[in-house]
């Protein structure tokens, strides 16, 4: 009796193990599939020039080289490609956006969720409705305002548009709450 029980328990354990193994296998395959384009991107960056248009095409490179990166830095240093300027613009506009949207949106979310001043429900509903607007809908009026203000050439314009884009697409009290939770989980 006793041995029989042990055996069946083992069987069940084995079954569970196989099932989980299958889940892991499928998920790993999916992860590989998801990241294939990224792997391909890195592989292509490491390809020497003569391998780029080979036939039949190769997925991974045969003779990896850092030549492309060197080329990039050379063109960057002699000014053919103003890489540092591009980098600076990206970093500054991203930093600006992240900094302000995180602060402003967490403040708003905190107020809506914890302080709950009268009218917070209506405001939250308005935000949900606002979330439904596809950003380009507001693009024309904003473009008109900015061109009227003659800000198109100024960097401030780009930053404010960036802020607006991130604000309308990504940032929402709920996201901020979830982001906070995610950060806590990942740490």
């Amino acid at each position: 009796m006793r041995t029989f029980k042990k055996k069946s328990l083992k069987k069940i354990k084995k079954k569970v193990l196989v099932r989980w193994g299958l889940v892991y296998f499928v998920m790993l395959a999916l992860v590989l599939f998801m990241s294939l384009p990224l792997i391909y991107m890195v592989a292509t960056a490491l390809k020497p020039l003569n391998e780029l248009y080979l036939f039949p095409p190769t997925f991974l490179t045969k003779a990896p080289t850092l030549q492309n990166f060197r080329q990039l830095f050379v063109s960057a240093s002699d000014g053919t490609i103003p890489l540092t300027r591009h980098l600076f613009n990206s970093v500054v506009s991203t930093g600006f956006t992240v900094f302000f949207s995180v602060i402003i949106c967490s403040m708003g979310a905190y107020s809506l969720e914890k302080l709950r001043p009268p009218g917070h429900e209506a405001f939250f509903k308005a935000i949900i409705v606002g979330l439904m607007f596809v950003p380009p809908v507001a693009q024309i009026p904003i473009y008109i305002v900015m061109s009227k203000l003659n800000l198109l050439k100024r960097r401030l314009f780009i930053y404010s548009v960036q802020l607006w884009i991130v604000y309308t697409i990504e940032i929402h009290p709920l996201v901020v709450i979830c982001m906070g939770l995610t950060v806590i989980i990942f740490l």
Binding site: Y40, I128, G130, T182
Partner: protein, 296 residues
Amino acid sequence: MRKSKWRKYLTGYMFLLPFGILFLLFIVIPVIWGTVISFFSYDLMTPMKWVGLENYITLFTQDELFFVALKNTLTFAVIAGPIGFVASFFFAWVISQLHLRQMFSLAFYVPSIMSSMAVSVVWLSLFSSNRTGIVNNLLLNLGIIDEAVGWTIDPQYIMPLIIFISVWMSMGTGFLTSLAGLQNLNEDIYAAGKIDGIQGRFQELFLLTLPQMKPQLLFNGILSIVNSLNVYDLVTQIAGAESPDNCALTLVGLMYDHGFARFELGYASAISFVLLLVSVILGEIVKKAFAEREEK
């Protein structure tokens, strides 16, 4: 007592103020103004001219491209939106039960933080329309197809390809929200559910997990709809600004064409107003489906 309550409320309003100002400035006012402009003829140079409903009449009666764009946009939103939505939740649910959670989530999240420009270069090269494209080459070698498929030039394949890429890309945010929600579920409910006779993971998922996840689901649903209505730079990258037979023309694309290439801002505003209506209608449907029932 009373005074401190109002103090608290005042703090609440002050905290909301910056967000409120931005909300007003970047969403409420532009949307209203855009609607107003759609009743005018306006090209930035000459003064605005009132034309009433003429923009809308032209749009609905004479503009053939508009219906093509509307059809494409709706097709895209109805297919890509739900797929991305369900997939991101499902994978978040599976991954939340696995070990090595961080590694799995990273793989699902990375595509979405890359810009669509960078991504489309890679995809274009993978799905190149001649035999040198990796996908074509693979399919040829496996004998599935006889000659190279024009993934990015054949009207038949462009839309499916764009939907595929956009699902691949759109997983990220929805995935993270779902994951964060799944990590913060109330454990007690599961113990109670076991006692009440809930068996198996799927029963648990449908009876216990999903009802608790309503806020995240609502957010993801709206986000996936807005994202799929908003598809533009991916399309222009994959199919080109002028796609064959306009098979990949979307409402946003049409709006950009009229607004920023021809400077018919009134007409473009009318298009974007239609887009607004579409997104609000779809959003309301999603809201109906996932809104938290007020239990009071």
